[in-house]
């Protein structure tokens, strides 16, 4: 799985960091998504899919 983000559209909802904290973090300054892992391990895939589905600004793209 390959994760890409389009941080320009991020609205700092925190949904990604809530769903998959090992893969997504947020900037202390503006709450914008920070990608910690662009190739998460298999045990993270379900959480990452949840994060992508629940992102209100559709910032997260998954390849696979």
């Amino acid at each position: 799985m390959k994760v890409t983000i389009d941080a320009d559209r991020c609205v700092a909802s925190g949904m990604c960091a809530y769903s998959a904290p090992e893969v997504f973090d947020q900037s202390e300054e503006d709450g914008v998504v920070v990608l910690v892992q662009d190739s998460p391990s298999a045990d993270q895939h379900e959480a990452v899919r949840t994060a992508a589905r629940n992102c209100p600004a559709q910032v997260i793209t998954l390849d696979q």
Partner: protein, 414 residues
């Protein structure tokens, strides 16, 4: 196409006395009918009613085609007049980068789960103290007035550094803001004291910053690409205070009523408290968005194949969308273990609920603690005797009389 307003069907609004947990029953018929239906809203505007899950998600997710400019609840709140110009710092009506600037400024204060984790012990203490007070007062209480409102009021006040003794200011502003019939003048009268008070806090904390969200927003503003004016900082702070307590208290109370009325679901939680976060999402799906949301069409387009024209209003029936059988299996069943990914209970898109992470924390701590400390918790009156709030789109019980045999001590129960 001209429409005869008087011939349009009325927007169905929740009637909890009749249907205590659900959207009004006729929503299902609107959802099953092809296309969209034009409805007459309580505030007098006419709008396309959108009820299907995919359509609601699409509209909320696309602010380039569907603007928040009319006001989030212009269909049910009389003071939200789509014709009024957007005031300084009135971010709830903004779109695109203009809105994002605000969202990213208060986001780190209340939208970061890792920072909110630091708040968890405080929320736990507030919840435990309220249960101690209930235990000391006797064997019955009104869960809404004696627990839910004090807990959520204490938490949002604590985040912003506003003492509990000053709560009347933001309780009054919420009563005005969320009163269905509040006039423009009534809104001004109801919010002005809070606005002046928060302006004062901003002046004070610019000189003497504390550890609260207002102080941090002031400090971070200096380094922002476009620093915020005092009025903008005031609007953000006052908005969080006004909107950050009764919404959560209401879903907490309505959610507890639902669980106490579905003992099988409560038993599942007792048997496996690790289901609590999933139960909170299910309660958000089940109740969230009951008032619906307004959008304005930015350019001629379509929604699910149905044409809508520039300038038309759209009402998104969020709760009905989350009860769409094409999105959730057996959607009217409360099921604390169901998959809820993609639910719209906190809305969707750039304007998705600002306080959702705080609400999750408060609801999770409350449910876990109730299961642990008050295993005998029950309704003190039959469900049919519960009365619901009127005159506000923050739909839920007006009071929730509960009873118990014993409230276990915080330490012992832990």
């Amino acid at each position: 196409m001209p429409h005869q307003i008087e011939e349009l069907p009325a927007l169905p609004v929740p009637r909890l006395e009749e249907c205590p947990f659900g959207p009004p029953p006729e929503m299902a018929a609107f959802r099953e009918r092809p296309g969209l239906t034009r409805v007459r809203c309580p505030t007098g505007i006419t709008a396309w009613l959108v009820t299907r899950y995919q359509d609601v998600r699409e509209v909320l997710g696309d602010s380039e085609r569907f603007s928040s400019r009319p006001g989030q609840a212009a269909h049910v709140l009389a003071h939200m007049n789509p014709d009024l110009p957007i005031g300084e710092g009135e971010f709830t009506r903004m779109d695109g980068p203009e809105y994002q600037r605000f969202r990213r400024h208060f986001g780190p204060e209340i939208g970061m789960p890792k920072r909110l984790e630091e708040l968890r012990p405080t929320v736990q203490r507030v919840v435990d103290e309220r249960l101690d007070l209930m235990a000391a007062a006797g064997g019955t209480a009104d869960f809404y007035a004696d627990f839910a409102i004090p807990v959520t009021t204490t938490v949002i006040g604590g985040l912003l550094g506003v003492p509990y003794s000053d709560r009347k200011l933001f309780h009054d502003s919420a009563a005005a803001m969320f009163g269905s019939a509040t006039s423009a003048g009534g809104l001004k009268a109801g919010t002005q004291p809070l606005f002046e008070y928060v302006h004062g806090l901003i002046r004070e904390r610019r000189e003497n910053p504390g550890e609260d969200a207002i102080s941090r927003m002031i400090q971070r503003s200096a380094g922002a690409a476009e620093p915020f004016t005092d009025t903008e900082l005031m609007r953000m702070s006052a908005g969080l205070l006004t909107s950050g307590w009764d919404t959560t208290a209401t879903v907490m109370t309505h959610g507890l009523l639902a669980l106490l009325s579905h003992p099988g679901e409560l038993d599942r939680l007792r048997a496996d408290p690790s289901l609590v976060p999933a139960a909170v999402e299910e309660l958000a799906r089940y109740f969230g968005g009951a008032p619906g949301l307004t959008r304005e069409v930015v350019r001629d387009t379509d929604i699910g194949g149905h044409p809508v024209a520039k300038g038309d209003f759209v009402v998104l029936a969020v709760q009905a969308a989350d009860r769409d059988p094409s999105a959730f299996e057996d959607p009217d069943r409360l099921d604390v273990g169901r998959p809820t990914d993609g639910h719209l209970g906190f809305g969707y898109g750039p304007h998705q609920c600002i306080g959702q992470q705080t609400a999750r924390l408060e609801l999770t701590v409350t449910l876990r603690t109730l299961l642990r400390r008050v295993p005998s918790l029950r309704l003190a009156v039959p469900l049919s005797d519960i009365r619901f709030k009127t005159g506000t789109p923050v739909y839920g019980p007006a009071a929730l009389p509960v009873a118990w045999d014993a409230i276990l001590p915080a330490e012992e129960g832990r």
